[in-house]
Symmetry: C2
Subunit: 394 residues, 2 copies
């Protein structure tokens, strides 16, 4: 076995144990905290040039097992692949425009997995996007409530206003905005599982008069400026580069003059000046978010501006998302038995690696999270935003 | 005369009087508030297809005189050119890389004009960039002090830190940061007139131990990460598109790991997806800021990111700049006699039109003003910024 591994592997002194198909054990450093169970001799060659993508694939396919804390698995895997093959160059993917059917299938793959599974490790409102930590000490429920409030405050929601929620998920934001800010919310999603549970929760809170939810593609949104405010959280990652102009035009068309648009989502590390990385690597693209594409902040800023919206406030919440994903991952790890009853084994392997991997990736700056607030100015170029952002922090 | 003017001109019913070289007067609408004194028959053909650029040029060259409030002159000029020729399409300029000699000459042209002239209409600290209005009711001195404080707070300046001020002007920010936040400031400028007065003011306040200022090109900045923080206010508009990557690399090289970089400046309305407008039109390019080039927010965001900096906070202060310019313009208009003793007549004509025109342009969204805060992350991808921006508003 060792003959196949590069000599430098020992030099790294990683706290990693290899257990082979024949029961042999090899420690690559002292006091191993993670064990890689190599169930198949064909993997040895791959280990000589490991990449996170390849290791992740082998784990999902069951040719590799992992023992030890999932966070350390990722950390050691990164050290391994960095030392042996260096930083992976971003590939230049061939982005194809998504049509509605492709998008519907991709959304269903991820979000229709199992509401009960998501409920295991998300907060009580099932908010499936970056939380907001005012001190870093909050628990997940507190931080998600703070995030919803931060979004509503940035949108300067006033009672009676009409809010469009593009990609409303399980309706956490829609219900919060209706309940706490007294607005009328129209939410759209492409996930039937999300819609069903979201509607149940709206009914359970008696918010049917304030919150309407429907299965709708963003390309079918009304374009008559009927909404005072538009919010899109963790949705534009699914749109794809080719359709970003259309996406931004649809938001522009839906909001009134003087209205605000908030786009909250994951952005890429690389700009168009350097090759654009696919949404978090091949692993994410193959197993987690098919058709996901992450534009850089500069790219989405250009598309938003070209649509006629003016960017007034941008905030990076990268380390908030690292913390959110750490909490999600820890909650899932604490309930693996229950999780295994809710989703197929392969899905569980994917989600374990994806949550821990993304926690690590956000912490290390492989991607970012930006809240971008834009205004559709009045005809005379003015807008009604307050002079400062102090109102967000009162 | 009227035979040369388009029939639609009368339909506009503008509150505008034309007074011709022979003394004849023509009112284009009731109760004219502005008089255009046409001193030269050759101008009549130009009036048939007026553009702000052409009218401005004729005024600077003295072939046209203006009577009436300068703000209304701009407003009527815009209505005139919009009605008769529509919105001017942005031209696709041929951006050449600036060399040091070009930049030095361009900076000298604008900033070495006359310190006493600038002192006539700027605030007491001679802060020649967008002010910050916490309520909109502040006077210029208050709003410039608030701007300096806002910048220092965004940079999270701590006593003893080393701050680099790129394009330090008359040293208002450098002295404020040293005095109020206890930092060591190194400021650079290409204007000898600015440097001389800035040094006098540093000495007058006894801040020589804390504030060092020198005549230096940004391309000659030390690249050893010796500064904790870097600030650049109203300077990057002079860099030019071709040199933006170099400019951002110079800021990156000057700041330590974990350090912050603030870029405060004017951004263009148009992205690279549509032709890039020159810095405020041909008038500005010819008479006010030779070699000035305004990148769109998306463009400067890309260049900042490609240099290795991570954008964490962006704030548009467009309407703050409209207000600032209104105040500057009003102060200059109130002291025209004194101003005429300080600068040549043509310069005074240029500055009158430029201040009033830019006030109008910022109000109408022809350009924008963005404060972009970026961090140079530590090697592990982390940074030391607080979780939220609440500390800016305490």
């Amino acid at each position: 076995m060792l003959a196949y591994l590069p000599p430098t592997l020992r030099d790294l002194q990683l706290p990693l144990r290899l257990r082979l198909w024949d029961g042999k054990q090899i420690d690559l450093g002292p006091q191993p905290r993670v064990t890689l169970v190599v169930k198949d001799p064909s993997l040895v060659a791959q280990l000589a040039h490991p990449s996170l993508d390849a290791l992740g694939g082998a784990y999902v396919e069951g040719r590799l097992d992992l023992e030890g804390p999932i966070g350390e698995v990722i950390e050691i895997g990164d050290a391994l692949s960095q030392a042996l093959i260096g930083e992976e160059a971003p590939t230049e993917p061939d982005f194809q425009p998504h049509d509605k059917a492709t998008d519907a299938a991709a959304i269903s793959y991820h979000y229709d997995l199992s509401n009960d599974f998501y409920a295991l490790w998300l907060d009580r409102e099932l908010v499936y996007s970056c939380a907001y930590f005012e001190t870093g000490k909050e628990d997940l429920d507190q931080a998600q409530q703070a995030k919803l409030r931060h979004l509503c405050r940035k949108l300067r929601l006033q009672p009676g206003e009409r809010l469009l929620d593009v990609g409303c998920g399980w309706g956490g934001l829609a219900r919060f905005a209706a309940r706490e800010f007294g607005v009328q919310v129209h939410g759209i999603t492409l996930s039937r599982a999300q819609l069903e549970l979201a509607r149940q929760r709206v009914a359970a809170e008696g918010l049917e008069q304030q919150v309407q939810l429907e299965l709708l593609d963003y390309r079918d949104l009304p374009q008559d400026g009927r909404f005072d405010k538009v919010v899109s959280v963790g949705m534009f990652e699914h749109v794809g580069h080719a359709n970003l102009p259309l996406y931004c035009q649809c938001l522009f068309g839906a909001v009134k003059s003087g209205g605000l648009v908030m786009n909250h989502g994951i952005t890429a590390r690389y700009t168009d000046g350097r090759p654009v990385a696919r949404g978090g690597g091949e692993f994410i693209d193959r197993y987690v978010f098919p058709e996901g594409e992450l534009p850089h902040l500069a790219t989405i800023s250009a598309r938003i501006s070209e649509a006629g919206l003016e960017i007034v406030d941008v905030e990076s919440l990268r380390l908030h998302y690292a913390r959110t994903l750490e909490l999600w991952s820890a909650r899932l790890e604490a309930q693996l038995e229950r999780a295994a009853q809710l989703v197929p084994e392969q899905a569980l392997r994917i989600w374990r690696l994806y949550l821990a991997g993304c926690a690590y990736g956000f912490a290390h700056g492989w991607m970012n999270l930006h809240q971008i607030l834009a205004v559709k100015p009045h005809a005379d170029g003015r807008h009604d935003l307050p002079w400062t952002r102090a109102d967000l922090y009162r």
